[in-house]
Amino acid sequence: MAEEEDLSEMANDVERHLKLDPPKPSPPPPCPSHVLENVLENVLKFLTSRRDRNAVSLVSRSWHHVEAQTRFEVFIGNCYSLSPARLTRRFTRVRSLFLKGKPRFADFNLMPPDWGAQFAPWVAATARAYPWLEKVSLKRMFVSDDDLALLAVSFPGFKELVLLCCEGFGTSGVAVVANKCRQLKVLDLIESEVTDDEVDWISCFPEGETHLESLSFDCVESPINFKALEGLVVRSPCLKKLRTNRFVSLEELHTLMVRAPQLTSLGTGSFSSSTHDGAQGEQEPDYASAFRACRSLVCLSGFRELTAEYLPAISPVCANLTSLNFSYANISPDVFKPIIRNCHNIRALDSICDEGLQAVAETCKELRELRIFPFDPSEDSEGPVSGLGLQAISEGCKKLESILYFCQRMTNVAVTAMSENCPQLTVFRLCIMGRHRPDHVTGKPMDDGFGAIVKNCKKLTRLAVSGLLTDQAFSLIGEYGKLIRTLSVAFAGDSDMGLRYILEGCPKLEKLEIRDSPFGDVGLRSGMHRYNDMRFVWMSSCRLSRGACRDIAHTLPSVVVEAFGSDDDDDDDDEDDNADYVETLYMYRSLDGPRKDAPKFVTIL
């Protein structure tokens, strides 16, 4: 998803612009201003791009006002960058809200629980201000069952709920949404933690035909009432996307597919037979035939407990697939390769099978996005020589735009090859799981490889680096990474210079996340001129002192500087050194100052 300027940055710009350059008084216009505003309103309704709207809002006060009246979709990249009150004051006709909460490193247990990012104040404010609200998308927010209940009763026309990487709620909250949101078209629970309240939420959908177009619950780790699900699918004629969880067996999946051959996206659940010994007495359903009947199917995922012998059943749809997610499947190369060889039109692939990459490179010429996850996500596990896989992909999939690749070790040659073969890359995220691992053939740092990436991939906006890296790598990133908006660094660099290179060199940098790297106060201070223009900076287990962080906070009043430890035992004030050391720094710009809901372990400097 392309990251665009968020509300606070644009609002910031407006405030600054209007303070520095107030609209000049002019002679009365020939026609009444409200007519002009009307015209403008009608024109602006066609503008959907956030960037365009941000630009428009800067023209003048009246344009700013009209733009605010006609903005129906609001994107807030950091829920703490402004208060809900400010949102509702400025934008009065919001129909769709996208809120992002915790920073990404929270996914990796680097943030203590109960840090914040609660949906509660937002749902309360929008319930009052936007009764016509139709769509809410949340990422990394804490959402409670009460929040969901309030949402369900406050917005009679509510249509779409998307919860990505959220937590705090359970099946009881989902049940309320299912039951009360009668216009619901989309209910997508994606990679979220959903507590099992032992509520049959599927049965809570009202009787009669539904408006459902998309239902995703593959992250719900509790059994569902299959009969109710089947009934729901039958009375949802508009259903296009259905992602079931691993408690749906292959036989049950077959039933669903037969009921809904119009599906375009299918999450296949367990993809294993519920009768362990295969067909015993009863005839096995014709799975291939069911897949064949789904002529519109372009996206497949699931395969949570894959029984490989049934996988060939998906062959009839392989040629039509544009998106395939095998990353939860315990899939071996022998099983993966024959399947992938039919997927000529794949544009997005998620897998753990890095040994099948040669086959991918030979077949998937339309590949745009590739994510290879580790089968064994630990540092010292054995794995194939992955440099060859990366090289093969770069030679075969020239249209590649985005790659996330986990491996144990890598070579500069392979990374350089990718930089040369895939000029369309906008996202390059390489995770060499062995910390500080050099090029395993030459023994040299991975500087050259990543340097080649920033030099050759001129469209690069997102970069994640790993392996043994010196300050030289960061010098290159600063020199060539002029379009980079998001940078992730872990266990890399030699000194403050590394950080300086980035902060002084990358003008478009918005999101910087660093862990376990030897960057200290000098490096941090060198970015003073940048932090107002960035969405956030995260630095954990680096070499920062409280003093430097405090300086930032004092110098930049519109930046909120949070300091906390990854453990809750921050009460180690016995040693002065410890008290001065900042384990985790998370700072972000905000229009409304420090938040009031910070837990005890967070110090706002």
Binding site: D107, E193, E355, G356, P374, F375, D376, P377, E382
Partner: protein, 180 residues
């Protein structure tokens, strides 16, 4: 450390077809062995290489949701490999038994256990002639539905492919056992 790294590099577990069969991809079987080996090697090289091994929080950066899923699958597949229960029938015996293949380290282990369970003995195994010197021949049904002589293929492959066991006796056994 370079030495160590290059050694691994020349192992050539490449992503090319045909070199590994399905069973060698059972990381749960292999990785444990390799892990032990790695740890042993790692201990020798602590002086020269950067410190690792201590589990670092949040590294590698895989979401716990995904890790748990893999873990579940690993545990389940560990469960499978810890519990590869297959039926064992013996010609002439009134009922079948069930055994857990993963309890055995190899063929000799397995055969000894079978001999105890059914009170018989297999003959001497040879690649050329199968089992000689006994009326009883241990066989198994593989994934393709064929009846195979136990002992021909590597143990791991056998574990993956074995659907059930049958201890054949008498004339049928003789045909199968004597190196056909």
């Amino acid at each position: 450390m370079d030495e160590f790294v290059n050694l691994k590099a020349t192992e050539l577990r490449l992503g090319l077809p045909g070199t590994n069969n399905v069973c060698e991809e059972r990381v749960s079987c292999n990785s444990n062995n390799n892990k032990r080996a790695l740890q042993a090697d790692a201990e020798n090289e602590t002086e020269t290489s950067p410190p690792r091994k201590t589990q670092i929080v949040g590294w590698p950066p895989v979401r716990s949701y995904r890790k748990n899923n893999v873990q579940t699958k690993k545990n389940e597949s560990d469960g499978e490999s810890q519990g590869i229960y297959v039926k064992v029938s013996m010609d002439g015996a009134p009922y079948l038994r069930k055994i857990d293949l993963s309890c055995y380290k190899g063929y000799s282990d397995l055969l000894k256990a079978l001999e105890l369970m059914f009170e018989f003995s297999v003959g001497e195994y040879s690649e050329r002639d199968g089992y000689k010197g006994s009326d009883f021949v241990p066989t198994y049904e593989d994934k393709d539905g064929d009846w195979m002589l136990i002992g021909d293929v590597p143990w791991e492959m056998f574990e993956c492919n074995c659907k059930r066991l049958r201890i054949m006796k008498g004339s049928e056994a003789k045909c199968l056992g004597s190196g056909v």
